[in-house]
Amino acid sequence: MAEPRFASPIPAAVEDFGAVQLVDESTRLKWRIWDNLFAVELGRAGRFDSSLAFSVSPGEWIVLGDRPDGGEVVDITHVRAAMRLTGPGARALLERVCALDLSDAMTPDLAAARTLVAGVATELVRDDVEGEPSYLLLMSRSFAQSVHERLVAVAQRS
């Protein structure tokens, strides 16, 4: 039998609108843990080798990357889809569909929050790439296509 192929819910791997790129990162491994293995505070994210860990709710963490070591670990790779918005226009695009205050004072690099994006509860992590604003969005897989379509439509009109 053929090796199973992971199918992303997001229809396009990359969408480039110039001021903002929208990249599918759904294939990244994702984990949920209840121990602060990475010493990351609530509302914050941390980068560790190939992993990113963040917390948006007291007493729980989400880790992207290798399976964390220790404590209870639940694999949520397939539960969440992930996409990344990068570029000078990323914040303006998000402000069209998200009420969160994304200013540098309220949402600096490595800030993490769960909030509504395009009407869907979404974990939002500001994870700047080489000084360029970048937002990683994780949402329930079933909503991912709908959110992606909305972001693409808004980006195309902007």
């Binding site: 509302g43 709710s57 007291p58 009420a99 969160l100 309220m106 929050a113 769960r114 909030t115 509860a121």
Partner: protein, 86 residues
């Protein structure tokens, strides 16, 4: 659109929350029928300060107890429900 300052998430629009009504305590299973009926169906419906339960469903997913003035919508205290209510 109310602004609720969640102790875990900071200021957020109320459309991220689910309203749970007046905060109340569940009686024990052996409580009298009257106590049970009162818990299930009676509400004080105060005009003024009220402690009520909200659920930050699109945020931290924590249940909160909020003191809100039902006339002015002023909010003076927001606590995680695990801290109990008085």
């Amino acid at each position: 659109m109310l602004l609720i300052v969640c102790p875990h998430c900071g200021p957020r629009n109320s459309d991220e929350f689910a309203f749970g009504g007046e905060a109340s305590s569940r009686p024990g299973a052996d409580a009298s029928p009257d106590t049970w009926r009162s818990y299930l169906y009676d509400r004080a419906n105060v005009a003024g300060w009220q402690t009520e339960q909200w659920f930050h469903v699109a945020g931290c997913r924590r249940f909160l107890n909020i003191e809100r003035n039902t006339i002015t919508n002023e909010i003076r205290r927001v606590r995680d429900a695990s801290e109990g209510h008085d």
